[in-house]
C-alpha cells in the first residue's frame, strides 16, 4: 500500500505491505533502528515513538496507519547534532545503562513534557510506567525528566 506521512519532519511517500508493523517499517524500510522491539506486544515500551506528538508503542501499529500522520523517532529528536534537552539530562543524570530502553523512555518523556511541562514526580512515574528498564531502577530516569522539564521552562 502507498502511504504519505511526515517522518522526522520530512514528507515521505512510501510503499508498505499491509501487514507490516510500524516498528518493522521504521527499522527495516528506513533504517531507523532507534525504536527497539523488546516484546512485540506493547508491554515493554522499547519501540515507543511519537505519533502526532503522542508516545505510542510502534509494535502495536501497522505501518499503513502512519498514512497522513506525523511521526518522530529518536533519530529525529535532536536538531542535527544538537541534542534535545531530555537527551542531555539523560546523560548528565546517568539515566541510562545498557541503552536499549533509552530511546523509548526519552520519547515517552518528551510526550509527557509536551502535554504537561511541569509534571509532579508521581505524574512522571505514571507516564513512564509503560516503559520497562531492567538496569537503572528508574531513579535517575525520573530525575532526568524533572531536570529536563526545568531546563525547557
Amino acid at each position: 500500500m502507498k502511504i504519505k506521512f511526515t517522518l522526522n519532519q520530512e514528507i515521505i511517500e512510501h510503499e508498505v505491505s499491509p501487514n507490516k508493523t510500524l516498528v518493522k517499517m521504521l527499522r527495516e524500510d528506513f533504517d531507523l533502528t532507534g525504536a527497539k522491539e523488546g516484546c512485540g506486544g506493547g508491554e515493554c515500551g522499547a519501540c515507543t515513538i511519537l505519533f502526532n506528538g503522542k508516545p505510542v508503542t510502534s509494535c502495536l501499529l501497522l505501518g499503513v496507519q502512519a498514512d497522513g500522520q506525523e511521526i518522530t523517532t529518536i533519530e529525529g529528536l535532536s536538531q542535527g547534532n544538537e541534542l534535545d534537552e531530555l537527551q542531555k539530562t539523560f546523560i548528565s543524570t546517568g539515566a541510562l545503562q545498557c541503552g536499549y530502553c533509552t530511546p523509548g523512555m526519552i520519547l515517552t518523556a518528551k510526550g509527557l513534557l509536551t502535554e504537561n511541562p511541569d509534571p509532579s514526580r508521581e505524574e512522571i512515574k505514571t507516564a513512564l510506567s509503560g516503559n520497562l528498564c531492567r538496569c537503572t531502577g528508574y531513579k535517575r530516569i525520573i530525575e532526568a525528566v524533572e531536570q529536563a522539564a526545568k531546563n525547557y521552562r
Binding site: C98, L132, R140
Partner: protein
C-alpha cells in the same frame, strides 16, 4: 587522583540517547538470511523421526538443519549440551531443527512445516525428585562427558555436581549447642529479562572463516565454545559483540549462536540472523535456577553460631554446563557473611526437564542468602536478641575465617556497611503507621557477600596505543552491558596515562582486534581488566620515560607523567608532551629512536588455589569477597496483599569507587531488580511448560514500583585491586529479597519461606495466620 574517583559522565551516553548505537538486531548485512527454529513441545521425549522435506521445498528456504548434522557436545564447565536436540529432547522449547530463508516470516513458516515424531518419556520437574535413586535419567551418559576437573558429577544419577564443604566438627558442635534451629526455603525460577532479547548473526565464508556477531558478554568464551563445538580453529573464528542491551548473566555463555552456525555453514558466505522474540527469550534462553535449601544451625547461649549443616538442591534444568559452577559457588559460601567454625554443606546441581539454568546476577548468592538472612532474623527472635547484634557478633571480620577456612582480609567492611544501613533506615525506631488500618509498615535488614566465581587463572589483557596527537586508544574485550565498564576502564587508563578521558577512545568486543578477556561476568571486570590496563599504562610510561630521559637529559627514575606530559619531578618546567613521543624520539641529527608507543598489559590474579577435593576447604579460593547490607521499609496492604517498598538503602564495600555515581547506579538498579525477585517474579511451569512467557504475566518492576533510595559506599581498599577497587554490581542485588521478607515478618509476624511474595500468597498467608 585526577580521574579515578570522579563521577564523570558515561563515555557511551551520546550514542545511546540518540539511537546511534547499533545493536546486533539493528544490523542489516548484504544478502542476509533469517533463521526460524522448530522447538520441542515435550519436556522429555525421544526423537523418532524428523521429516524436513516440506520445509526444504518451501519457496525462499535456503537451508535446513537438524541435530543429526552437528551432534557434538559443548559447554563451559561441563560439555553436556548440544545446540539442537539430537536423540531426545530434554526441555519444552528445546531446538530440534532450524531453517534459513530469505525473510523472517518465510523462515518461521517453513520451520513449522518440519514434522517431528516423538515418543514421550517420563519427565521430572522437581529437583528433589530428580535427585532420588531410581529417578529417570536425563543424561544417562553423564559419566562420559568432559568436565573441568574441579567438579564432581555422580554418573548414573541426575547429579551433575556435588560440592561438599566439611569444616571443623559439626557433630560435636551440635552436641554442645544451646539451641538448634531448622529451616527450609524455596526460591523459584526467575529470568534476567534484559530488554534486548538474544540475537546473533553468523557468516561462514568459502575460506572457512566464521564470523559471529552476537549480543554477548564474553566474546572470547563464546569463541572458545563455538570453536570446540563446530571444529573451527580460533584464528578462523571471529566473535564481535558490538553492543549489549542488558545481560545480567543471560548473555554470558552461548545460546542461539549454535543454531545459526550450522545453517551458515550450508549457505555459502551469506549472513544469517536469528533474533529471539520475548517468548523465545523466556522459554529457550537461560533462567535462574530454582533452589531448595535446608539449614540446621547450632547456636550457643550468647547467640554465637557454632555450626551450620545445610543442603542446597539446585534445579539445573536440562543442561548444567554453567549450572555446576553455581552449585559449587553456593557451596563454598555456605553460611554467607558469617564466621562459623563448623560447617557441613552439600550443594547439588541436579538435572530436571525444566528450562536451562544459567548464571544470573550474583549467581548462587542471592538464592542462598534468602535463607541465610531470614534465618538470622529467626534465630535472633528465638534467642530474644537484636538481629543487628546477632549479625555483628557473627560477622566475618578481619582476622576471622570464611566458610572455606580462608583468613578474612583486613579490608572486610561488613560491619561498617551494616552500621551504615541501620543508621540510614533508622532500624531501631519503629515505622510510623499509616492512618489506613489495613496497611502496616515495617523495616527489615539483610547482609550479603559474594566473590567472583571463576577459574583461578581467569585472565585479562589490554593494549594502549598512543596516537600522533597525544590521544590514545584503549583496547580490551571487557563488555559494557550497561554497568559502565567503558567509562570506568577509560578512567583507569586516564589515571595511568595522565591523559584526559575525552582523549581516550575505548575499543571492545572483537576477538580479531581486541585482546583476550576471559569473561564479563562475576563482577570481575573493573578488578581484572582494570589491573591489565594499569599494566598496559605502566608499559607505555616506561617507553615514554626512556625516551624523555634521553631528550631532557635527566634520569628516567625522576620522570613522571602529568597533564599529558612527561615531567621531571624536580623541575616541572622541564617536560615533553606525550604527543611528541608518540612515534618515538627524533634526535637532533634527524635519526629516530624506538618508534610508535604501544603498551600491553596482562593480568591474572595471584595465589588463588583449588579447593581440597574432599573437604572443599581452601586458603584462598577466590580473589576477593565483597560485603554489604540492605535496609528497607515496606508497607503491606493486608486486604489486597500488595507490598510496596517505600524506602531502600544499601551500603557495599567496593574497595574504591572508580566512578561513585556509576557505583550508586548499580546499587539502584540492583534494588529494583531485587525487589522484582522478592515480590513479583516467578516462572510458572506446568509439567515444565512455561505458562507466563510475557511481561503481562511475568511482571517486572516499573517506575511506579521504585522506592525512595539512598545509596552509601564503603571503601576499604582491595590490596590487589586497581586503585583499591573490587567488584560490586552483582553483590548489590544479593540482600534485596531477604531484607524485604524480613520487613514483611516485622510487619505481619509471618515468615515466608518461599518467593515471591505475590498478593495472592500474602493474602493466603495472612488468612492462615489469623485462623
Amino acid at each position: 587522583m585526577k580521574y579515578v574517583g570522579q563521577s564523570i559522565e558515561r563515555v557511551d551516553g551520546i550514542k545511546k540517547v540518540t539511537g546511534d548505537l547499533k545493536y546486533v538486531d539493528d544490523m542489516k548485512l548484504p544478502r542476509m538470511l533469517y533463521a526460524g527454529v522448530k522447538r520441542s513441545p515435550h519436556a522429555h521425549a525421544k526423537i523418532l523421526k524428523i521429516d524436513t522435506s516440506l520445509a526444504e521445498k518451501y519457496p525462499g528456504v535456503k537451508a535446513v538443519v537438524t541435530g543429526k548434522d552437528f551432534p557434538k557436545k559443548a559447554g563451559l564447565y561441563l560439555t553436556d549440551k548440544t545446540f539442537f536436540a539430537v536423540d531426545k529432547t530434554r526441555f519444552t522449547g528445546e531446538a530440534v531443527a532450524a531453517v534459513a530463508a530469505d525473510t523472517e516470516d518465510i523462515a518461521k513458516e517453513a520451520a513449522e512445516l518440519i514434522e517431528v515424531e516423538y515418543e514421550v518419556l517420563p519427565s521430572i520437574h522437581d529437583a528433589r525428585e530428580a535427585i532420588k535413586d531410581g529417578a529417570p535419567l536425563i543424561h544417562p551418559d553423564l559419566g562420559d562427558y568432559r568436565i573441568v576437573p574441579i567438579f564432581k558429577p555422580v554418573p548414573g544419577t541426575n547429579i551433575s555436581e556435588h560440592f561438599k564443604l566439611r569444616k571443623g566438627n559439626v557433630e560435636e558442635a551440635f552436641k554442645k549447642a544451646h539451641r538448634i534451629f531448622e529451616k527450609e526455603f524455596y526460591v523459584p525460577h526467575i529470568q534476567h529479562t534484559p530488554i534486548e532479547n538474544h540475537v546473533a548473526i553468523a557468516q561462514y565464508d568459502r575460506d572457512k572463516n566464521l564470523t559471529v556477531w552476537a549480543s554477548c558478554q564474553s566474546p572470547y568464551a563464546v569463541r572458545a565454545a563455538l570453536s570446540d563445538a563446530f571444529d573451527v580453529p580460533l584464528h578462523k573464528l571471529r566473535v564481535i559483540s558490538p553492543a549489549v542491551g542488558g545481560g545480567f548473566g543471560a548473555k554470558a555463555g552461548t545460546t542461539l549462536e549454535g543454531i545459526i552456525i550450522p545453517l551458515a555453514m550450508k549457505v555459502g558466505n551469506r549472513p544469517i540472523k536469528l533474533t529471539y522474540s520475548r517468548e523465545d527469550e523466556f522459554v529457550s534462553s537461560y533462567v535462574r535456577q530454582a533452589l531448595h535449601s535446608k539449614f540446621k544451625t547450632a547456636v550457643d547461649k550468647n547467640g554465637k553460631l557454632l555450626a551450620v549443616e545445610n543442603e542446597f538442591i539446585w534445579d539445573g534444568g536440562a543442561f548444567t554446563e554453567y549450572g555446576v559452577n553455581i552449585a559449587k559457588s553456593a557451596g563454598f559460601a555456605a553460611v554467607g557473611p558469617y564466621d562459623v567454625e563448623n560447617i557441613h554443606c552439600d550443594s547439588y546441581a541436579v538435572y530436571t526437564n525444566n528450562p536451562v539454568g544459567g548464571p544470573y546476577r550474583g549467581f548462587g548468592m542471592a538464592e542462598i542468602h534468602f535463607g541465610i538472612e531470614q534465618n538470622m532474623d529467626h534465630i535472633a527472635r528465638e534467642m530474644g536478641m537484636d538481629p543487628i547484634e546477632l549479625r555483628r557478633m557473627n560477622a566475618q571480620k578481619p582476622g576471622g575465617t570464611t566458610a572455606t577456612g580462608a583468613k578474612v582480609d583486613a579490608a572486610c567492611g561488613l560491619e561498617e556497611t551494616l552500621e551504615a544501613v541501620v543508621k540510614e533506615i533508622d532500624y531501631h525506631t519503629p515505622s510510623e503507621q499509616p492512618s489506613d488500618p489495613n496497611k502496616v509498615r515495617a523495616k527489615g535488614i539483610a547482609c550479603g557477600m559474594k566473590a567472583p566465581s571463576m577459574p583461578n587463572n581467569a585472565g585479562s589483557s589490554a593494549v594502549v596505543r598512543i596516537n600522533e596527537d597525544g590521544s590514545a586508544f584503549l583496547s580490551v574485550s571487557a563488555q559494557d552491558l550497561g554497568q559502565g565498564s567503558d567509562t570506568a576502564l577509560t578512567q583507569i587508563a586516564a589515571e595511568g596515562l595522565q591523559i584526559p578521558v575525552e582523549k581516550i577512545t575505548i575499543k571492545t568486543g572483537d576477538t580479531d582486534h581486541t585482546p583476550y578477556e576471559w569473561q564479563t561476568v562475576a563482577s570481575r571486570i573493573t578488578y581484572s581488566a582494570g589491573n591489565a590496563i594499569i599494566k598496559a599504562c605502566d608499559d607505555v610510561k616506561t617507553q615514554l620515560v626512556n625516551l624523555a630521559s634521553q631528550k631532557l637529559e635527566v634520569p628516567k627514575e625522576e620522570l613522571i607523567l602529568d597533564d599529558e606530559h612527561v615531567v621531571w619531578e624536580k623541575d616541572f618546567t622541564k617536560k615533553v608532551p606525550i604527543r611528541e613521543l608518540s612515534l618515538g624520539l627524533q634526535l637532533e641529527d634527524g635519526s629516530g629512536v624506538h618508534g610508535p608507543i604501544i603498551g600491553r598489559g596482562s593480568f591474572v590474579p595471584e595465589g588463588v588455589v583449588n579447593f581440597d577435593p574432599e573437604t572443599g576447604l581452601s586458603e584462598k579460593p577466590v580473589v576477593f569477597w565483597t560485603y554489604g547490607a540492605y535496609g528497607v521499609e515496606i508497607e503491606v496492604d493486608k486486604q489486597t496483599g500488595n507490598i510496596k517498598v517505600l524506602k531502600a538503602t544499601t551500603c557495599f564495600d567496593v574497595g574504591k569507587a572508580i566512578n561513585p555515581e556509576l557505583v550508586k547506579a548499580q546499587c539502584e538498579g540492583a534494588v529494583v531488580q531485587g525487589l522484582g525477585s522478592a515480590i513479583f517474579e516467578e516462572i510458572i511451569m506446568k509439567d515444565g511448560k512455561f505458562q507466563n512467557p510475557n511481561f503481562t504475566d511475568y511482571k517486572i518492576p516499573t517506575s511506579g514500583d521504585m522506592p525512595e533510595m539512598t545509596i552509601h559506599i564503603a571503601e576499604n581498599p582491595q590490596y590487589d585491586g586497581p586503585y583499591g577497587a573490587r567488584g560490586m554490581a552483582e553483590p548489590a542485588m544479593i540482600p534485596a529479597a531477604p531484607s524485604i521478607v524480613n520487613a514483611f515478618y516485622n510487619a505481619t509476624g509471618i515468615a515466608m519461606n518461599k518467593l515471591p511474595l505475590t498478593p495472592e500468597r500474602v493474602v493466603n498467608a495472612l488468612k492462615e495466620h489469623n485462623k
